[in-house]
């Protein structure tokens, strides 16, 4: 089922949480809502679920306007960060809950509900735990049960709110791979919220980068990493540095020095030059290069990570081959090979 969010705005007691957000999610797509806390990503997810109602705008499921449908009618699977399992029910009863509360006309028989629960437990690789209580499971196991419970109702969309946020790093990685496999096996349209960019880039078909209640950029992992469309996205996704420059005609000036940069276009005036630490080349002699004084040099795995001060107040980080020496206090010239200029 495709989901379309059209010009949705949400205010909490006059505090705007989302400003005019639109987003189209295709059938069977796996989408990540990525952003720092307070960016509105969870609010957007809850609006899709119907746990919040928009101040303005609408949410479409397929061709149908679902804005005025209740949570119960929307038939979405929702997975909470802290699992929200029913502690007084066994694992099998938790999974079967959504089927058990159906009106008698559409409710499967007890035996069918039980069979469905056991089948889902096999899918989430927890066979044999059907009679346990949630308190007897580990965090990772509980989250798998929560996912099985959400899938039991054959939802139109699967929504996950920081599903791995409460788990430790090892389990997170494992569950991440596993969620991808489940998604490929079942084909549910899935939206998950995360503030972990690695998780978003690795897992999602498309990443929605959000900041301060707005969508900054929507794209594949390659698009948002290689072609960030705003200073925020450049800064938020991956490592980056920026220095203030001046654009005049076809020249980019750092202080009063012209930088030898190729392949750019920008309006005249002040601008910020963004680049990633690994997209630089060292320029011996320093002609047309950014010159910086080495503040610190650290060996990180196969690379050397160097902190430079540029033009007194600028502060950048670049990566060099490990065998390239960069003593503290020496001067280094470099030129970004891939970069972006944003008007300041």
């Amino acid at each position: 089922m495709s989901v379309s969010i059209r010009n949705v705005r949400k205010e909490f007691e006059n505090f705007p949480a989302l400003h005019d957000v639109s987003l189209d999610i295709k059938t069977s797509e796996l989408i990540a809502l990525l952003g720092p806390s307070g960016s509105g990503k969870t609010t957007l997810l809850r609006l899709i679920a119907g746990l919040e109602s928009p101040t303005a705008g609408s949410v479409f499921f397929g061709d149908e306007d679902a804005s005025h449908r209740s949570v119960q009618e929307r038939n979405v699977g929702f997975v909470f960060q802290h699992y929200a399992l029913f502690r007084h029910m066994t694992v099998a009863d938790n999974i079967g809950f959504g089927l058990k509360v159906r009106p008698s006309a559409t409710r499967p028989s007890k035996a069918d509900i039980r069979a469905r629960a056991i089948e889902l437990l096999r899918l989430v690789q927890l066979s044999g735990l059907e009679n346990r209580y949630p308190a007897q499971l580990s965090g990772g196991q509980r989250q798998r049960v929560a996912l099985a419970r959400a899938m039991a109702i054959e939802p139109k969309v699967l929504l996950l709110d920081e599903p791995f946020g409460a788990l430790d790093a090892q389990v997170r990685r494992e569950l991440r791979r596993w969620l991808r496999e489940i998604h490929e096996a079942t084909g549910h349209t899935t939206v998950f919220v995360t503030h972990d960019q690695e998780e978003a880039l690795e897992l999602a078909d498309r990443v929605v980068v959000m900041s301060q209640g707005r969508i900054e950029q929507v794209g594949t992992a390659d698009e948002v990493y290689d072609n960030p469309n705003s200073p925020f996205v450049y800064g938020f996704i991956g490592d980056s540095s920026s220095i203030p420059v001046q654009v005049e005609g076809d020249r980019v000036l750092l202080g009063d020095k012209r930088l030898a940069l190729k392949g750019w276009s920008a309006k005249d005036g002040k601008a910020q030059l963004f680049f990633r630490p690994h997209d630089v080349e060292i320029v011996e002699g320093g002609e047309g290069a950014i010159l910086g004084k080495v503040l610190a040099s650290r060996r990180v795995a196969g690379l050397r990570r160097v902190e430079l001060s540029v033009e007194d107040d600028g502060h950048v980080e670049i990566e060099l081959p490990a065998d390239r020496d960069a003593p503290v206090g020496s001067t280094l010239g470099f030129r970004p090979q891939r970069f972006k200029l944003f008007p300041a």
Binding site: A49, L51, V71, Q72, R74, N75, V76, G77, F78, F80, H82, A84, L85, F86, R87, H88, M89, F97, G98, K100, V101, R102, Y133, P134, A135, Q136, A146, R149, A150, A152, I153
Partner: protein
């Protein structure tokens, strides 16, 4: 509440190694319980045994004693059940909604704890007597509250209410909002969520509140004697019968009636505690 504390330790008499002082604290507990509770109760049983089995049986099978016990336990049971329903609703309102005056209502709940029970009894009697403001309204409808078992129930509801509210309230506060949202996304309506998700989670606390309110009601004396009318065989409670025996200098009879009450209360509280332990396990608190 006691079940909560003991369920973790279980029945083992082994010293838990990481928590030192088990021997010391257990010893202290036993001495304390003996001095404060067991010794007086043993004295009571001893005194009632002194009158001999025949006299004891005569008192135990006496029509007036039986009726008084029936009134005491019957009214206490009804009052505790009423408190379970309305106390839970009251706790719900206090936990779930924010409204002006919420803190005042919250404080009012504790008043029955603080008020001398005789004051409560006199106030309720004034209201519910056939010529009182509420009693006068009910009279044309053929309902008499003051000086009947109904009046006893009203007084017992009054003194028992805080027990249910104060045991259910903290447990209710701990219920995660997300659990209800999860139920809603799975298609459960409001009623289904309450019946299948919220109430089962509250059951152990509600049972505790019931047990406390019930126990308190069985032993209540001060507020009841004013409103009950104290008509033998109709609205005479067992604690009053004990006082009457004392005033007749019939100490053996008083002790015997007390012992019978003690046994009945103990059996009922034990049963409630067992149900509670079962429900805690049943609802996943034991693990």
């Amino acid at each position: 509440m006691t079940a909560a504390a003991s369920s973790g330790a279980g029945w083992r008499l082994k010293k838990p190694s990481v928590l030192p002082g088990f021997g010391l604290t257990l010893g202290f507990t036993l001495v304390y319980l003996t001095l404060i509770i067991l010794l007086p109760l043993a004295g009571l049983v001893w005194r009632s045994a002194a009158i001999g089995p025949d006299a004891f049986w005569a008192i135990a099978s006496d029509e007036r004693t039986l009726r008084a016990l029936q009134v005491s336990f019957g009214t206490s049971l009804v009052a505790a059940l009423v408190n379970v329903v309305f106390g839970t609703i009251l706790a719900w309102v206090l936990v779930r909604y924010r409204f002006p005056g919420r803190r005042i209502i919250d404080a009012i709940v504790d008043l029955p704890f603080a008020l001398p029970t005789a004051v409560a009894g006199i106030a309720l009697t004034t209201l519910y007597a056939p010529n009182g403001p509420i009693g006068g309204l009910l009279k044309p409808l053929g309902i008499q509250v003051g000086y009947t078992p109904l009046g006893i129930i009203v007084a017992l509801i009054f003194i028992g209410l805080p027990f249910v509210v104060r045991t259910v309230q903290p447990v209710m506060e701990e219920i995660d909002r997300e659990v209800e949202e999860a139920a809603a996304t799975l298609g459960a309506g409001r009623r289904q969520t309450i019946a299948r998700v919220l109430l089962p989670a509250l059951t152990p606390a509600i049972l505790t509140g019931f047990a406390l309110a019930f126990a308190r009601a069985v032993g209540e004396y001060g507020s009841v004697i004013f409103i009950a009318g104290n008509i033998p065989y109709v609205s005479e409670i067992a604690p009053l019968l004990i006082v009457i025996r004392l005033e007749e200098f019939n100490y053996g009879g008083a002790a015997a009636t007390g012992t019978i009450m003690l046994l009945l209360s103990f059996v009922m509280l034990l049963v409630i505690n067992l149900i509670q332990a079962w429900s805690r396990r049943r609802y996943g608190y034991g693990a």
